[in-house]
Every structure is written in structure tokens, then in C-alpha cells.
């Protein structure tokens, strides 16, 4: 965590929140890290490309729809995505353009056991949830039955 905060600063992003550990129960107790936000980052920075798997948010500005989609897809991963807009046309066109297994429109993190979930590229190629998963836990066998002719 601390290493990525150091990297983000070196890369020129602006640390606007967090960036340090927290010890509510004494200096040597527990493993906490404050919610950390980097602003004015670029998509080619490591803090925008590496999965940190901790509380670090990287915020990047954009101007146009095309630019937003290009930034969103500018990653080796492809698990989830989201778009927030009141424009229904824009929402669905961005959802269609996302190279990810999930796109949320005006929401985030929702799921259901019946709805397929998974990724592409570096996020893996499998799906969990949904009825299709049963195919990945079964073999398909074809049985041929000769029928009487004539």
C-alpha cells in the first residue's frame, strides 16, 4: 500500500486523501489503511494500471465520450465497469463499448445468483453465477442410437 502511494506521488498524481496507515487501538495494533485518493492521475500511471487490492482510488479527468471509453478500456483487466449519466442513449452506448464482463448503469456492485459474473483478459475467462455455470461443472455426452431403417 505504502509503496503504491509512493509510486503515485513520484508519477505526479495528486494525493488528496489518506495515504497512510491508521492505528485506532494503539500504534502497534491492527492493520488499517485510510481511504486514499489520487487526483489528476493519468491512465498510464501504475496507480491506474496495477491492481492494488487495497483502499486506493485513482481519479482521472476526461472531456468526451470517446475519451472516457478509451480510458476505461485502457487496461489489461476486464472484470467490471460502470457509467453514470442521465442520458439513456449515452448509457447504453458506453455499456456496449465496455470490454468487461459487467457494466453497471447508474449503480455499482449489484449482483444476483442468477446473473452471470466474470471477466475477460487479465481478469480471467470464466463466469460464476447464472445458469450457464452448470455447463462448466458438467461434461456433455452424445449418445447415438441406431434406428431401424425401412
Amino acid at each position: 500500500m505504502s509503496e503504491y502511494v509512493r509510486i503515485g506521488r513520484l508519477e505526479g498524481a495528486e494525493l488528496v486523501a489518506g495515504g497512510r496507515t491508521h492505528h485506532p487501538q494503539g500504534p502497534d495494533s491492527g492493520w488499517y489503511y485510510l481511504p486514499t485518493i489520487f487526483s489528476n492521475a493519468r491512465n498510464d500511471m501504475r496507480i491506474a494500471q496495477d491492481e492494488i487490492f487495497g483502499p486506493v482510488l485513482t481519479v482521472i479527468p476526461f472531456d468526451t465520450d470517446d475519451e472516457a471509453v478509451a480510458l476505461a478500456n485502457g487496461t489489461r483487466f476486464g472484470l467490471a465497469s460502470a457509467v453514470h449519466t442521465r442520458d439513456i442513449k449515452r448509457a447504453h452506448s458506453v455499456a456496449a463499448a465496455m470490454r468487461a464482463g459487467t457494466c453497471w448503469i447508474n449503480t455499482y456492485s449489484q449482483w444476483d445468483p442468477g446473473v452471470s459474473f466474470g471477466g475477460r483478459n487479465a481478469s480471467g475467462y470464466s463466469r460464476e453465477f447464472g445458469p450457464e455455470v452448470m455447463n462448466s461443472y458438467t461434461e456433455l455426452k452424445s449418445v447415438w442410437v441406431e434406428l431401424p431403417t425401412g
Binding site: Q49, V59, S126, S136, Y137, W144
Partner: protein
């Protein structure tokens, strides 16, 4: 902690694996100690299973598949057991919540949801599919009539991460068992307790011996053995991209099937015309739920320039107002926990 131990089933104090329907010590007799990331105190004594234990567990799962009743039952019969487990998960949801919070520090309010009603919903959903496996019929170019059958694979190995232990094992155990497979589950080293508890609930629900085996342990040895084992037909993994790649490579010699749910760097786009208050809340929770230790964390936030400063200022205020606290008493807000190992996705 003492409250937890005194209230809970004996599972977590045994330091044992669950193999072939029985609690048993690790072959080499080792135990290791889990650590509560909230304060660094000792959590529980857990059996330190090794390759030898994986071997015994795979043999048990193999026997249960090749000779046992589970794959030969109707889907309707398997569904009854999965439905019973869902009820038991809800009955013991508080304990399941506490075990995971103790192991990995997610606030208790979140583990109560995930490990109770939500996990139960996953088991019930796949219980519903157990009786719906079906094939198709075909005409053919020759003189034959053709039909297809959906058959279980055999033994499934599940390797699951620390960040949502009950949920991310339910996504594998529920469909695998619904289809009639048998299993060996290797939970994350840091979060073994709820996996043992779930195995106990399956036993209580009447799952035949050897159908679900749990091997806890440290290091890569047990998982590597499971992936390379010729008696295992499939490995289902959730975790980091790097380990996923190692698993795919390790599965090649035995040509086993592999499912991989790996990492992410998900983008969340906020346009200037968004419902901003909601969008900011989604951006914050989507990123910081469970301390960002979630594969779907929205860790890249793309904000259109006209509202850029407004969104960032609001997120900073939200972050500064979020004070980490004891996960066992925390009822709302997002977690700020880190386990010492953060390699899972």
C-alpha cells in the same frame, strides 16, 4: 474472542481438517495460528494440511464420486441437501459472520449480510438448478437418433480467497455439488474458519461422506498439489491474476478444466449529466467497500471535467469522514482492513 469460542461449534477449536466425513488432524500433525487483523491477536488454531492431506482428501472425493451415492442421486435429492444447507447457513449466519470478520476484518454488518441471507440465496439458486440439468435430441446425417447427456465432471478442487470466504466458496461449491460432483476445498490460509464451519453444516444436512472435503493449510503446497493431481477433474479458483496463470500452467499436464476469476482495475465513469449525489456515493462505496479488497472495486474513477472538482471534493470529504473502527462492533460504513497478504482477487 473468548465469547466467540465459547459460543461457537467445536469446529474452530479442533485444529482439524474435514476429510471423508470425519474431522482429522493433519498428516504431519502441524497446526498454525490465524491472526485477527483488527488487533493482531491470535484467532484460532488450524490444521496445517500439506500435500499428503490433499492426497487423502482427493482419494476420499474420488471414492465418493466413483462409488458413492452423490452423483447417482437425482438432482431433486441433491437439491434437498443444498436447500437444507441454505437453512443452516441462515440459522448460523451470526457465527459465520463472526468467523470471517475475525479472520479478515470485514465489518460485521457486511459479513452478516454476505454470510447469511446472501450465501443462502446462492445455495438455493443452485439447488433449483440441480433438478434442471438436461440435454437435447438431434437428428443426424446417418441412420441414428442422437441425444445428449449432462454428466458431472468428477472431483472438483476449489481454491478460494480471503476477501469474501463464504461467498466465493459458495459460488463454486453450490453449482459443483448441484451437478453431482465431489470436492476438495482449500480455503485461503488466512481465512480457514468459515470453510470448516460450512463443511460441518453440510455434514449436518446429510451430505454423504467424502463429497465435500476441506483441507486448510499454509503456503502454496496444498493448492499446487490439488492443481497437479491426476484424480482432480477441475479446479475452480478466485484470486490474483498471477496465481491464476500459475494454476492454468499447473493444470496442463493433467488437462483438467480450470475456472479462473481474477483481478480487476474497473473503471467507473461519471459524466457531467449524472445524478451526482448518487454517482459520488456509488464511486465511494464501489471503491472502498471492504477496504478496496474486492475484485470488482471501482479503482479507476473517470470524471468529466465540468464536474471534476465537485466530485473529487465530495469524495475527499467522504473519505475524511470515514473513521476506521473495530469490525466486530462496526455496523455501517466501509471497511478499512488489510490482511497482511493481499494477493487475492
Amino acid at each position: 474472542m473468548s465469547d466467540l469460542l465459547s459460543r461457537s461449534s467445536t469446529v474452530i477449536t479442533r485444529g482439524e481438517l474435514f476429510i471423508d466425513g470425519r474431522w482429522t488432524g493433519a498428516a504431519q500433525g502441524g497446526v498454525y495460528t490465524t491472526v485477527n487483523p483488527a488487533d493482531g491477536t491470535v484467532g484460532a488454531q488450524v490444521a496445517d494440511g500439506s500435500a499428503a492431506d490433499i492426497e487423502v482428501a482427493v482419494q476420499a472425493a474420488r471414492r465418493a464420486f466413483d462409488e458413492g451415492p452423490w452423483p447417482r442421486m437425482s438432482g431433486h435429492q441433491r437439491a434437498r441437501i443444498l436447500l437444507a444447507v441454505a437453512d443452516l447457513i441462515e440459522r448460523d449466519g451470526e457465527e459465520l459472520a463472526r468467523l470471517d470478520t475475525l479472520d479478515m476484518g470485514k465489518p460485521i454488518a457486511h459479513t452478516r449480510e454476505e454470510n447469511g441471507p446472501i450465501a443462502a440465496a446462492v445455495y438455493r439458486y443452485y439447488a433449483g438448478l440441480a433438478s434442471q440439468l438436461s440435454g437435447s435430441t438431434h437428428d443426424s446425417m446417418g441412420s441414428a437418433f442422437v441425444y445428449s447427456l449432462r454428466e458431472p465432471l468428477g472431483v472438483v478442487g476449489a481454491i478460494t480467497p480471503f476477501n469474501a470466504p463464504v461467498m466465493l466458496s459458495a459460488t463454486k461449491i453450490a453449482p459443483a455439488l448441484a451437478a453431482g460432483n465431489t470436492m476438495v476445498h482449500k480455503p485461503a490460509e488466512t481465512t480457514p474458519l468459515s470453510a470448516l464451519k460450512i463443511a460441518g453444516l453440510f455434514a449436518e444436512a446429510g451430505l454423504p461422506e467424502g463429497v465435500l472435503n476441506v483441507v486448510t493449510g499454509t503456503g502454496a503446497g496444498p493448492g499446487t498439489t490439488l492443481v497437479a493431481h491426476p484424480g482432480v477433474d477441475k479446479v475452480a479458483f478466485t484470486g490474483s491474476t498471477q496465481v491464476g496463470q500459475e494454476i492454468i500452467r499447473g493444470s496442463a499436464d493433467t488437462l483438467k478444466r480450470v475456472s479462473v476469476e481474477l483481478g480487476g482495475k474497473s473503471a467507473n465513469i461519471i459524466f457531467a449529466d449524472a445524478y451526482l449525489e448518487e454517482a459520488i456515493e456509488h464511486a465511494f462505496i464501489g471503491m472502498f467497500y471492504s477496504s478496496g479488497q474486492v475484485c470488482i472495486a471501482g479503482s479507476r474513477l473517470l470524471v468529466q471535467r465540468p464536474v471534476y472538482d465537485q466530485v473529487v471534493d465530495a469524495l475527499v470529504r467522504r473519505a475524511e469522514a470515514t473513521v476506521p473502527g473495530d469490525p466486530m462492533i462496526r455496523t455501517r460504513g466501509s471497511a478499512r482492513w488489510l490482511t497482511r497478504r493481499s494477493s487475492s482477487g
